[in-house]
Amino acid sequence: MKVPKDLRYTKEHEWVRASGQEAEVGITDFAQGELGDVVFVELPQVGARVTQMKSFGTIDAVKTVSDLFAPVSGEVVAVNTELKENPALINQSPYEKGWMIRIRVANPAEIESLLSADAYEKALGAHA
């Protein structure tokens, strides 16, 4: 199971790739494995505001549905529209092609509050 070192994480299994004022968000390799085949993902529109630890969308796998939680607050500046046609990208490439939204971060301190890769791996260890 992959947990890239350069990303930050939530306990709800989202990842964040921070660069400048923006944060790209997706779900982790662990999360996609637990969900199984993703068949639909519902994401906000560009311009929508999301709030840290509040739901910003939902993800339907064949067997189950799950909420997606915003790792940080801010405005959605980009949405991965390819997921509409090909939601399986989330399974195939959770950290790259399976990215979901990019947020203009309202409060950079929120990023600092997220888990490091090591801390996330420890949290996962408690699952196993």
Binding site: G33, G36, D37, V39, F40, E42, T58, D60, V62, K63, V65, A88, N91, H127
Partner: protein, 377 residues
């Protein structure tokens, strides 16, 4: 996470599942493979090729003795006494109220009747069957003595014919043969839960692993694959087959569930006959229908079905229809909202998704050699 695995039972194929990288989950008291490579790929492998399911969690109960046929016929709604040897019959087993205790397969095995029941209901069924048994019937629990594999898909016949010979090819849908005895006993039936041509193979646990390995060897040219319970569910749902606990239970009767074709009202007597005769005469208030949705959100068990905003029913099973390409569901809708082609809505997390009532099966391209069930609308 709570450690529940220590109390779960394992089938004889457990080591094979792990070796194949299965994701194991608790299911009806067993640790079972929910998927190997993924539900979508496994679903498609069965529709287009051949796959193997470990269904050893299913429960086997054998009725023996001079009264076995007559007693089996009293227990279930379908005709299982006069059927010829070598015939398998799908049937509900009902409460006195007409509610469904379980749905099962009955094998006419010589003078015996072999009942194959749902894993989650095994203990309940066994107690029910023992409680009603007359003195000339022995109720034998064969659950621990039986391993079961389902080999399903258009390629299944060729694989099993390679193993067990031409007998396999001459099996009609819902017939079976038995061969060998003791630990070499084997039962092969042309039955399944996928909508594709296929077979179920029962062996003794001491022969289980060798059976698994030989099936995979024989199936190698056909790219045979292991299939988990996840795809078992999506395959059966596209066919509109009932899953006990979701679509049918003790509060639903076979007529509501669209299983009137399994109820033989002309039989002398069976448990639950009176209320079912009355329901047949008076009509039922709701029916289990198929739905195909025009949207992307997936309907789930418990979601509300409405007609122009007014609640008319509830989803009992829902998923992505992988071979249909749209979300599909089964739902009980009230009697005025069961007509095929009717436009309804399913409330999927606060949004109304348009849905069309369909017949069951919703997927009609399968290779299964099923004669069309008699419609008792």
């Amino acid at each position: 996470m709570l450690d529940t695995t220590s109390t779960l039972k394992r089938t004889p194929f457990y080591a094979r599942h792990l070796a194949l990288g299965a994701k194991m989950v608790p299911f009806a008291g067993f640790e079972m493979p929910i998927q190997y490579e993924g539900i979508v790929a496994e679903h498609r492998a069965v529709r287009g090729g051949v796959g193997v399911f470990d269904v050893s969690h299913m429960g086997e109960i054998r009725l023996r003795g001079p009264g076995a046929k007559a007693y089996a016929n009293r227990l279930v709604t379908n005709e299982v006494a006069t059927v010829p040897e070598g015939k398998a019959v799908y049937t509900p087993m009902c409460l006195e109220s007409g509610g469904i205790v379980d749905d099962l397969l009955v094998y006419a095995s010589g003078r015996d009747r072999l009942l194959v029941v749902n894993a989650a209901n095994f203990e309940k069924d066994l107690a029910w069957i023992r409680a009603h048994a007359p003195s000339d019937v022995t109720v034998q629990d064969e659950n621990e003595d039986t391993a079961q594999l389902a080999v399903q898909g258009p390629g299944a016949e060729a694989v099993l014919a390679r193993l067990y010979g031409d007998r396999v090819k001459s099996l009609e849908f819902y017939t079976f043969f038995e061969e060998g005895s003791g630990r070499d006993w084997r039962l092969v039936s042309r039955t399944g839960y996928t909508g594709e041509d296929g077979f179920e193979v029962y062996v003794r646990p001491s022969r289980a692993l060798e059976t698994w390995d030989r099936i995979f060897e024989a199936g190698a040219p056909a790219l045979i694959r292991p299939i988990g319970l996840g795809a078992r569910d999506t395959l059966r749902l596209e066919m509109g087959y009932c899953l006990y606990g979701n679509d049918i239970d003790e509060t639903t009767n076979p007529l509501e569930a669209g299983l009137a074709w399994t109820v033989r009202f002309d039989k002398e007597d069976f448990i639950g006959k009176q209320p079912l005769v009355a329901a047949q005469r008076d009509g039922v208030g709701r029916k289990l229908v198929g739905l195909v949705l025009d949207g992307e959100r997936i309907p789930r068990h418990g979601f509300e079905v409405s007609a122009q905003g007014r609640a008319v029913g509830t989803v009992t099973s829902g998923s992505m229809g992988i071979s249909i390409g749209k979300p599909v569901a089964m739902a009980y809708t009230d009697k005025d909202h069961t007509r095929r082609g009717l436009k309804l809505e399913v409330r999927t997390r606060g949004q109304e998704t348009p849905a069309t009532v369909t017949g069951r099966p919703m997927y009609t391209m399968g290779s299964v050699r099923a004669p069309k069930p008699r419609r008792a609308e």
